[in-house]
């Protein structure tokens, strides 16, 4: 199957996933193989076809704009890896 080159290091950076050099190499080869297979979609003429995002087209699903109960703060923070004073703790973003 025709392989397709993919810059795994760059795409992994976009996806915010750190990979070891061994992982980069393995995933690169496997994705090349998969992308080679996906090339078959180019056999079809889709110039006159509308894309489908959802099989059931519901449009503008809204609810009344009114206050209703939501997850309490302590419940929302229950699984946080780091928290303080009712907030999530994160590394410094602005120097």
């Amino acid at each position: 199957m025709a392989g397709t080159e993919i810059d795994v290091k760059y795409v992994a950076h976009l996806a915010r996933i750190s990979l070891s050099p061994a992982e980069e190499q393995k995933i690169g080869a496997q994705l090349g193989n998969i992308l080679g297979y996906i090339e078959k979609l180019k056999e079809l003429d889709v110039s006159q076809v509308e894309p489908t995002a959802h099989a059931v087209p519901l449009i503008n699903v809204t609810r009344p704009d009114e206050i209703r109960p939501s997850l309490p703060t302590d419940e929302a923070l229950r699984n946080a890896p780091a928290k303080a004073n009712g907030l999530f703790l994160v590394p410094k973003i602005v120097e």
Partner: protein, 489 residues
Amino acid sequence: MLNQLTISELTGKLAKKESSAREAIQACLDQIQKVDGQIHAFLSYDAADALAQADAADKALASGATHSQQPLLGVPIAIKDVLAVKNHPLNCASKILGKFISPYDGTVIEKLKAAGAIVFGRLNMDEFAMGSSTENSAFGPTHNPWDIARIPGGSSGGSAAAVAADECIATLGTDTGGSIRQPAALCGCVGLKPTYGRVSRYGLVAFASSLDQIGPFTKDVRDSATLLEVMSGVDHRDSTSVPQPVPRYHSALTGDIKGLKIGLPKEYMIGGLDPQVNAAVQAAVQQLQKLGAEVVEISLPHTDYAVATYYIVATAEASANLARFDGIRYGARVDGKDPIELYSNTRGAGFGPEVKRRIILGTYVLSSGYYDAYYLRAQKVRTLIRQDFLKAFEKVDAIVTPTTPTAAFKIGEKSDDPLQMYLSDIFTISCNLAGICGLSLPCGFTTNPKLPIGLQLLGKPFGEETILKIAHAYEQSTNWHKERPLLKI
């Protein structure tokens, strides 16, 4: 043994006070103790919590509650590790969620509880539902109860194996490209993927939002109808759930399928189809004809493009959905010198190989310069696939196919070749792309070794009554669903 019963058999005994809910859940827990060491369907379960729910059910039964009000009262039902059950762990069979405990119940769980079910246990799966064998679980694979050297299918492998091994009465799973129907076929139980929008996904960890649905694994078709009726309905917390009335699915189980038209797609008779699977499906088609159905050949011309379309659409959506696992709000965190490095370190350490592969593929097909060539093109081919089905359904009431090209393969056989693994989903994937409903039920066994074979019925959007009717009529005229694996204890 109460753990071997169907929902309808168990509720019959509970209603007549021949057995208690406590005895039923205890029988399930005993069976798990006996067999789950070799099956590994369960990641965890809380026996004390399950017994407390059973006692509450017994109390309700004693004070006059009935199964017409609460159709699942006292019935143990186990849950795939991707659905939120309040105060239970939720890991998606991944390391990245750490010691996550759900702060709320998903809508289907609320509905099961309201119907009186004993909701217990976390069932094994492929990590984030990505896989066809349950080998991608971060906590080790599940084994097929019919042959523990083989995979149970996936991604809902634990859900299928737990039902097949009588570790519980029924289970819930999810299906994005076949993850209910394929393991149901390979483990010999009934698995139903409802129409897109039939069941609310609130409380389901999203994989591919335009494809995911929640559905039941059961020991027979009647139980599938029972669970579907409980689970279905519009929900304001899932804006993709459809405001379509929920029928009394039981009423469709008349046994009468005379005059129904069933389509046999010629594109599904592919080279890789195992001869024993083909023979079992052909015999099932003849049986449907004997029962009075009219079988006609149909064409779904874009079938050959479904796997490629799926692996663009599903990975693209997954790459967006799984962005939330970044080590900030929940789960395991691996620190870094700045937020970007924290995200990358956390995700690099927390995700397994298949999840990384799919997120990277999804990111690639959505990235600048490739979007039109891959993602947009796949969405257009998806339209063609959906049109194939809608055209076919102008002529037929349902479509019949094999669920899988082969019976269960061996653990490790395909785990190093993702593309071969993806191609094993060839018969189930189109259903999700088209947004229609599908069901798999047992239709025979291979010989040497004896492994279950699944028959797939595909129905129109919101056509669950028709496929349940056909499945029920077929099941009642055969004995495949009564066979159980011989487990070494």
